[in-house]
């Protein structure tokens, strides 16, 4: 029967490595395609999974369904223009992507950023991080079969989106960061609304714990699932909550502080178990740390300019510039090679999702299909971030 369905539904790809050939010769495995349209992949990720019964033997990610070659596009855009494109990479942490880009451009221009702009940037980053983790929390619970958390998460996320809309003008792809500062000053209501949100949010996190964290079914679904050891996490280049759940200290905000991150108090959350539950806990605890950062900064926004004076046409000197920021998913690297012109000669975005995805096969071998959803959910993959 397995053989028969496999032949009839045969849209598998030819085996390429010796490892795969060995498996094919043994005749083991039912190959199923998860994606590119599948409820659990949250985007157009295509996973070719070889199963034996319900147990996963091999996962092969096929990427590129949303590859827009942003790196190539950026080569023809000026240093002001290319920032907006990066909002479309990891669209959930659009602010932080933009931040990485402007940091890199500013490094090249050797611009001094006004303190007010720095604080605003950090505030926006942390709000984005909360919004991103909210969406992750809802979507992950939905992957595991609980639908209701999604709506609770979106309720709080909506508040952040409204704040963003008021100050930045858009809800998702803000393009608020410009080289030298931010595009506008914050809205007069901004501080009040953020404070209201923080107050509301603190009470809601406990509700999240009641609904999902403590739930016995959830714990059984995630504990000990998809274990990634510390060595593997480093070798696979896993960063962000995925790396930190495996015990790797990889928070760029702590290691290589940018803007005012070295002046605020917050903890880098590190768990050592490396399983899905640890990744979950890291993100949930990070929510509280983000709240802590916002609480410290919201009343202390220094007066002054929100934008440094820059030339109308920006030209980076010849050379190479690299900036690293911590997005909600991990380390984003922006590598600009400049030939001295108005457009970058080559841009490379080192996206966190790409490296995290490469560990998926390693983590999920021997797990059940149901576990794959827990692993993918806690990896928090955003497909445009992987494909770029």
């Amino acid at each position: 029967m397995y053989r028969e369905t496999q032949i009839l539904n045969s849209n598998t790809i030819a085996p390429t490595t010796a490892r795969d050939l060995a498996m094919d010769e043994a005749g083991a495995g039912l190959v199923i395609n998860v994606g590119p349209q599948h409820p659990a992949t949250h985007g157009v990720l295509h996973l070719v999974i070889t199963l034996e019964g319900e147990t996963i033997k091999k996962i092969e990610p096929h990427l590129g369904y949303i590859h827009r070659s942003i790196e190539k596009m950026c080569e023809s855009l000026s240093y002001r223009q290319f920032i907006y494109v990066t909002s479309r990479m990891d669209y959930l942490s659009a602010h932080i992507n933009n931040h990485g880009c402007v940091l890199c451009v500013e490094k090249g221009l050797q611009l001094e950023i006004p303190p007010r702009a720095q604080v605003i940037r950090v505030l926006m980053d942390e709000l984005t991080r909360i919004a991103s983790h909210e969406l992750w929390w809802g979507a992950m619970a939905m992957d595991l079969g609980a639908f209701t958390p999604f709506f609770y998460a979106f309720r709080e996320r909506e508040t952040i989106n409204d704040i963003m809309e008021e100050t930045c003008g858009t809800r998702l792809t803000m393009n608020y960061m410009v080289p030298g500062g931010v595009m506008y000053d914050i809205h007069p209501n901004f501080q009040r609304r953020v404070k209201d949100f923080i107050q509301l949010f603190n009470s809601k996190i406990d509700e999240y714990d009641d609904l999902v964290t403590g739930n016995i079914i959830f714990q059984n679904r995630t504990k000990g699932i998809g274990v990634l050891s510390r060595e593997d996490a480093i070798s696979f280049g896993c960063t962000g909550p995925v790396g930190r759940a495996s015990g790797v200290a990889c928070d760029i905000r702590k290691l290589y502080p940018y803007e005012v991150y070295d002046k605020v108090n917050f903890d880098e959350i590190i768990e050592t178990a490396g399983d899905s539950y640890a990744r979950y806990l890291v993100r949930i605890k990070e929510l509280r740390q983000s709240v802590r950062i916002i609480e410290q900064l919201i009343d202390n926004i220094p007066e002054g300019d929100f934008q440094a004076k820059t030339k109308a046409v920006l030209k980076l000197p010849k050379g190479e510039f690299y900036s690293r920021v911590e997005t909600a998913r991990g380390e984003l690297g922006v590598y600009i090679v400049s030939e001295g012109g108005t457009t970058p000669y080559r841009i490379k975005f080192r996206s966190p999702g790409f490296s995290n995805l490469s560990a998926l096969d390693h983590m999920s071998r021997g797990c059940k299909i149901g576990d794959l959803m827990a692993i993918m959910g806690t990896l928090d993959l955003v497909i445009p971030d992987i494909d770029r």
Binding site: I234, Y322, R350, F354
Partner: protein, 167 residues
């Protein structure tokens, strides 16, 4: 470790290495043939570069032609590919950028995916978008583009009259 210490260690292991210090981090250029032992040493040697956080390639289509770039006979006419590896160590927290120059005619380099597993995907991406061949890579196929795609889009001389609009 400071830049000078890094430099000292690298020179001890690889006297031929060329250094460049203009950027934020220490850049070192090694020969294609020396790359694999250097990579092994970087990972397991005294520097303990266990985290490869960025792997990419830059194409200079005309660099080979200009005499300023040190054009030699074997470099051919098609310019160069520069492989760029960004390393850091989770123990010492120092960053090192390693560059390997490849000729456009034979863009081939030894894989490092057996040393840093993240390189497996990154090298597939570079193979896909630049056409650099990684020797002994376990699964060198196109990653983001379709298998029958012609050309390598991130090369500077790539032309696609249908999908690329010149502004």
């Amino acid at each position: 470790m400071t830049k000078d210490e890094l430099k000292e260690h690298i020179t001890q292991f690889q006297p031929k290495a060329v250094f460049e210090e203009t950027g934020e981090w220490l850049n070192v250029q090694v020969e294609t043939g020396d790359w694999k032992p250097v990579a092994h040493w970087l990972r397991n040697g005294v520097l303990q570069m266990d985290y490869l956080f960025c792997l990419t390639c830059i194409h200079w289509p005309t660099a080979g032609k200009t005499p300023a770039a040190g054009n030699t006979a074997d470099e051919g006419s098609g310019g160069i590919f520069m492989m760029v590896y960004h390393f850091t160590s989770t123990v010492f927290r120092h960053v090192l950028v390693v560059k390997v120059k490849l000729t456009s005619d034979h863009p081939e380099i030894e894989t490092v995916s057996d040393i840093w597993r993240t390189a497996e995907f990154h090298e597939r991406e570079v193979f896909d978008l630049f056409g650099v061949r990684f020797l002994h890579h376990p699964d060198l196929r196109r990653l983001v583009l379709t298998d029958d795609f012609e050309g390598h889009p991130l090369r500077k001389d790539f032309e696609d009259p249908v999908n690329m609009i010149k502004l």
